[in-house]
Symmetry: C2
Subunit: 295 residues, 2 copies
């Protein structure tokens, strides 16, 4: 890993995810909180207009607006399409970014605790993730492999990841989660500083990785309306094993619908408000035990 | 109490309060669920456009759009200002409504459990409320006295009340709360039916009433931005006693702010997402024990 020179902390990529927005405001009032001796730290409010309106987005999800071809397409003039270009100008260009690390702060109505969402399995981010889980067992690490290219904001740089915390309702602050997220950000920054100083202990570390396998939509009728809810037995059970045959949905008439998979999975993002429109009732992951080395 | 001829059940007065919307959809697919022999039941989706966009409202809060003078003012042309007029045409006119009872279904991010919100203390609604708490101790009853006139949708008729359930995030369905709300609606309808049949037992019943005293805003800076969060010790503690000197807020720097009242109160709507913009961090109530008679 080369020296880290610039780190960007983003909050409010979704305007109704207040934890990140208010952490950002706190950092911006006292930049010393996120400065470290060996690198520069930038802060950025992702979607100011959406925050103003307490909405996830104005025209489209900003965090799905970073495909290279969209960033280069000047005929796209929706609010988030333009905002993505502005952000790329500040942090990018994609593939050759001005920042070495992006920390994108998100929150969710699902019981995701303190999650680190990785977009690639670079040894350095795996070591960082292993370190974070070692100092705080509440931290979980997820990995989603993109088929071709990621359209997420954090894909602007090689070492971009999201901190996803929950459960917390949209447009609400939960003080406990706020403080835990803040501690986690400081732990990341301290680790990056020690990496630059080359004072990280050389060793193998265990890492539990939740690898994204796919998503399940709600049952829907011919008009696309949902016909069932997350089953009470599954609600808030993110990261817990779901076995074939166990209930996942409950129809409005009280009928349970069972998981028809053939192997045990670990659902995450169960009942995330913003995913209803994306056709996602939950994401399924498989749990993997890794040994991460920085030797 | 005269005979009840028509009852209106409203869901989605706020478009991102899904419990009511999907209960309504269920009722509309099988009206027998909410029909009773002695009265007619209407169902109405309050704010269809806001539901379509998963937002509380488009231009303004529909549930604050029912002042008589606004309903009569044809120069008001915001979406909710017009929708209020349409709803008044269907259910009103205010003061001489076509329906005898309005049940308005709401949900909240606060831990309100199953709450009945009364706008007036008519003996009949008090008896109904006492009955509901007698069959389900989870049911709580709140009362807000309006200074002059209520601008709430349910004020269109004399016996309008809200069922407010939580905690549930905006734009999310919680199956357990859905089912409990459904049971509560049926209990109301069954009571109204028995009232019409004159088969309600004559007796005195105890009723605990949470009487609205006022609201507390978040601490804010000179730009109106909030400077503190609900204190973790108070979060989700709706209806529990709050004593003078106990912490209610936590600043972003981790400083507790104490309740500076002089008597014990019972906060409700603690950390309701939609109330941030209204300048309400919580509402304060006093707890009263009543004896309700239908003799």
């Amino acid at each position: 890993m080369n020296k880290i020179n610039r780190v960007a902390i983003i909050g409010g990529t979704h305007g109704n995810e207040f934890t990140g927005v208010y952490l950002l405001k706190k950092f911006e009032q006292d930049l010393n909180l996120v400065k470290r001796p060996s690198f520069e730290t930038l802060t950025l409010l992702g979607n100011p207009q959406a925050f103003k309106e307490s909405r996830r987005y104005i025209h489209q999800d900003l965090n799905r607006s970073f495909f290279s071809q969209d960033l280069q397409n000047s005929t796209l003039t929706g609010y988030e399409e333009m905002r993505a270009k502005v952000i790329e100008k500040m942090l990018g260009p994609k593939g050759n970014s001005q920042v070495d690390v992006i920390i994108d702060l998100h929150s969710t109505t699902a019981n995701m605790g303190l999650s680190i969402l990785l977009g690639e399995l670079h040894p350095f981010t795996l070591q960082l993730a292993a370190y974070l889980t070692s100092i705080n067992p509440e931290v979980k690490v997820c990995y989603t492999q993109f088929e071709k290219e990621s359209n997420l904001l954090r894909s602007l740089c090689d070492f971009g990841f999201a901190i996803e915390v929950g459960p917390v309702a949209q447009a609400v602050l939960n003080a406990e989660l706020f403080q835990k997220t803040e501690e986690l950000v400081y732990a990341v920054l301290d680790y990056l500083e020690r990496s630059n100083q080359d004072t990280i202990e050389k060793k193998n570390s265990p890492l539990t990785l939740y690898r994204h396998m796919g998503a399940i939509d709600f049952p829907r009728n011919e008009h696309g309306e949902i016909k069932a809810m997350i089953h009470p037995q599954l609600q808030f059970k993110d990261y817990q094993p779901l076995h074939p045959g166990e209930p996942i949905f409950l129809t409005f008439d009280g009928q349970a619908i069972a998981f028809d998979g053939t192997s045990t999975v670990y659902p995450i993002f169960i009942n995330e408000a913003a995913y209803y429109e994306k056709g996602i009732a939950m994401c399924l992951t498989e749990k993997q035990q890794l040994e991460v080395s920085n030797i």
